[in-house]
């Protein structure tokens, strides 16, 4: 058991990061920290994916002179997925930040609970 865990240190780190990001996004009151939590959570999944595609001793899947055999390279698909994932998470972060700016200008606080309280006082 312990040996399996030690062999997959990357997975343990990914799970820890996912937990940290998830709880920050869910429980932290500050909107900016929530966004940081979102990015940590996504990074954890990217680490997990990249680690799955890695094959010890092989190089990045970029065609070089003299090494054309596929046996020299790691699995490129997870790297491709991670690239797509990064694009997605960048755009989501941008939307969240834009919304945060709007809310901050209106309610002068970044705390989601206070924002909710202040919005309740308004007329719909």
């Amino acid at each position: 058991m312990l040996e399996t865990l030690l062999n997959h240190l990357d997975w343990i780190v990914a799970v820890l990061l996912f937990g940290i990001g998830f709880t920050t996004l869910l429980l932290h009151g500050n909107l900016i920290k929530k966004i940081i939590g979102l990015n940590i959570m996504d990074t954890a999944v990217y680490l997990f994916l990249t680690a799955q595609g890695y094959i010890t001793g092989r190089s990045a899947p970029i065609l070089r002179e003299g090494a054309v055999s596929a046996a020299n390279y790691i699995n490129p698909i997870p790297s491709g997925l991670v690239l797509t994932g990064i694009v997605v998470s960048v755009s989501l972060t941008a939307v969240m930040l834009a919304l945060t700016i709007r809310l901050y200008r209106r309610y002068h606080t970044l705390d989601i609970d206070r924002i909710t309280l202040r919005s309740r006082g308004e007329d719909s």
Partner: protein, 497 residues
């Protein structure tokens, strides 16, 4: 290859292109383009549905002619085409009936961007319905998340912005779980296309190996998509988001977006993991329990709310509970009942949201029940649409809601055991509660106004009335043709996996 088999790809590409073009158009042209797009997608999918219902097969469409496991695939059968037809029809009617309110509530300079988002919603829905690739599904889920968040916040009042933020946070938690599930599946199988994953997974698990990872994956998919579709107890974002957004956005969110996620969950169950594996798994009981709780607690919260829009939003929670309870039963009949309920709810709930906005306009922009008295006389089309929608939700015979409750009850009898009693009990309790609050509302719509009520003039467009009446007609048709719709669902489900 027949020309009709290009329809799935055309639907997605047309919607995407319309989204790009709308961004550069003025407000009116963008609206025209989006209405035209919804009509075109509806027409194309009706064509596809008639072809598939006649032939009874499903086909795989290779994007760029790369065979599996390298290429990206779309797949269409009767069930997918039926979903696409229903959702694009609801989209068309929602735009027509909600556009008047949109003009009042959203900044004129930004209205064309609202239509960009609607185009993207349609593109993402078509992609979720037709795609055969898990990672493509993930990307379109995120497009749908951003688009729906923007739809909520388009009405720039504090409540809507806070609701959009809460929606975004919950939705992103769901996306995170979903992405984790997809990476776990990729780690196990090394595939991203649905059928190759299924084949590899069957091979891996045939000796009872990997039982724990498969359970975790099913659980992650259920919770991730459950959060996004507003399943109890993850529905905390829902009442505010549906209650404060502009009515067109509420209709699109409740009738289209949540349904897209549920359909994807079913597709994952059938095509990726295998329905036998899912039905034998205990994770499904969780879905059943949440569904039952949603049926009861959604209705209870609806009774307690004093605001008409929020009441309808809470009724969505309970109706989505019906869908999940049907899926959670773990029988094919249950899934058929759930899919029928999905269609009925999609058509009915959009009508309720859209007619509510007309009714409150007729009552001095109020959403309180006291002020709404007599609104059914002041705005007859909205009153009629609301009444038909409410009766369907309660389950009055010949309307769609009645048949969906009957099928759910029949399914429960066929399943037997404890789950039969639980589902029947929840169904009875929820129907009683539904009848209580919907009948109360309908009756107050047709009562004499309070003493001293002064009717204020309001804008009423013929287009809105016509769209509401058209949607009512579609709802009546669903009840009338319920047998053929069920037949189509049954046939589609047999070639679904």
């Amino acid at each position: 290859m027949r020309l009709v088999e290009n329809v799935p790809m055309f639907s997605i590409m047309l919607s995407m292109t319309a989204g790009f073009v709308s961004a550069m158009l003025p407000r009116r042209a963008a609206k025209g383009l989006t209405v035209g797009l919804a009509a075109a997608v509806l027409g194309l999918n009706v064509w596809l549905l008639s072809y598939l219902a006649a032939s009874g097969v499903s086909f795989t469409y290779m994007m760029g002619h790369f065979p599996a496991p390298w290429g990206n695939e779309l797949r269409a059968g009767t069930l997918e085409a039926l979903m696409a037809v229903a959702l694009s029809a609801v989209m068309l009617f929602s735009i027509l009936a909600g556009q008047q309110k949109l003009q009042e509530q959203v900044d004129e300079k930004k209205q064309h961007l609202f239509f960009v988002m609607l185009d993207l919603v349609l593109a993402a829905l078509m992609a979720l319905i037709y795609t055969n690739d898990l990672f493509t599904a993930y990307v379109f889920i995120e497009i749908l998340t951003v688009a729906s968040c923007t739809l909520i916040m388009a009405r720039q009042v504090g409540h809507a912005m806070v609701a959009a933020m809460r929606y975004m946070i919950m939705s992103l938690l769901g996306s995170g779980l979903l992405l984790l599930a997809i990476s776990l599946l990729y780690g196990l199988t090394g595939q991203l296309l649905m059928e190759p994953i299924h084949k590899t997974l069957t091979k891996l698990t045939q000796n009872g190996a990997y039982a724990l990872p498969v359970t975790v994956i099913i659980g992650l998919f259920c919770v991730g998509l459950g959060i996004k579709s507003g399943l109890f107890p993850f529905h905390t974002w829902l009442p505010d988001a549906y209650g404060y957004a502009t009515p067109m956005a509420s209709a699109v969110l409740s009738s289209l977006i949540s349904k897209g996620y549920i359909f994807l969950l079913l597709k994952i169950f059938y095509r990726v993991i295998g329905i036998e594996v899912v039905q034998a798994n205990h994770a499904l009981n969780l879905l059943f329990a949440f569904g039952l709780l949603a049926m009861i607690f959604g209705s209870l919260s609806a009774i307690r709310s004093h605001d008409l829009r929020r009441m309808i939003a809470f009724s969505s929670v309970s109706q989505i509970g019906y869908i999940y309870a049907g899926i959670g039963l773990g029988t094919t009949a249950g899934v058929i009942a759930a899919l029928f309920q999905l269609l009925v709810h999609s058509l009915g709930k959009s009508m309720l949201f859209l007619s509510t906005s007309g009714l409150s306009d007729a009552s001095g922009d109020s959403k309180r029940f006291d002020d709404l008295r007599g609104a059914g006389y002041r705005y007859p089309a909205a009153g009629a649409a609301f009444t038909i929608g409410a009766l369907s939700m309660v389950g009055v015979p010949i309307l769609g809601g009645f048949f969906s409750k009957v099928y759910l009850a029949q399914t429960a009898f066929a399943a037997g055991g404890v789950s039969m009693w639980l589902l029947l009990g929840a169904l009875a309790a929820s129907t009683l509660l539904n009848a209580f609050y919907f009948m109360h509302t309908v009756m107050s719509l047709y009562r004499q106004p309070k003493a001293g009520f002064v009717a204020v003039p309001f804008r009423r467009s013929a287009l809105t009335s016509a769209a509401l009446l058209g949607l009512s007609a579609v709802n009546l048709c669903v009840g009338f043709f319920s047998q053929s719709i069920l037949q189509a669902i049954r046939q589609g489900l047999s070639v679904f996996s």
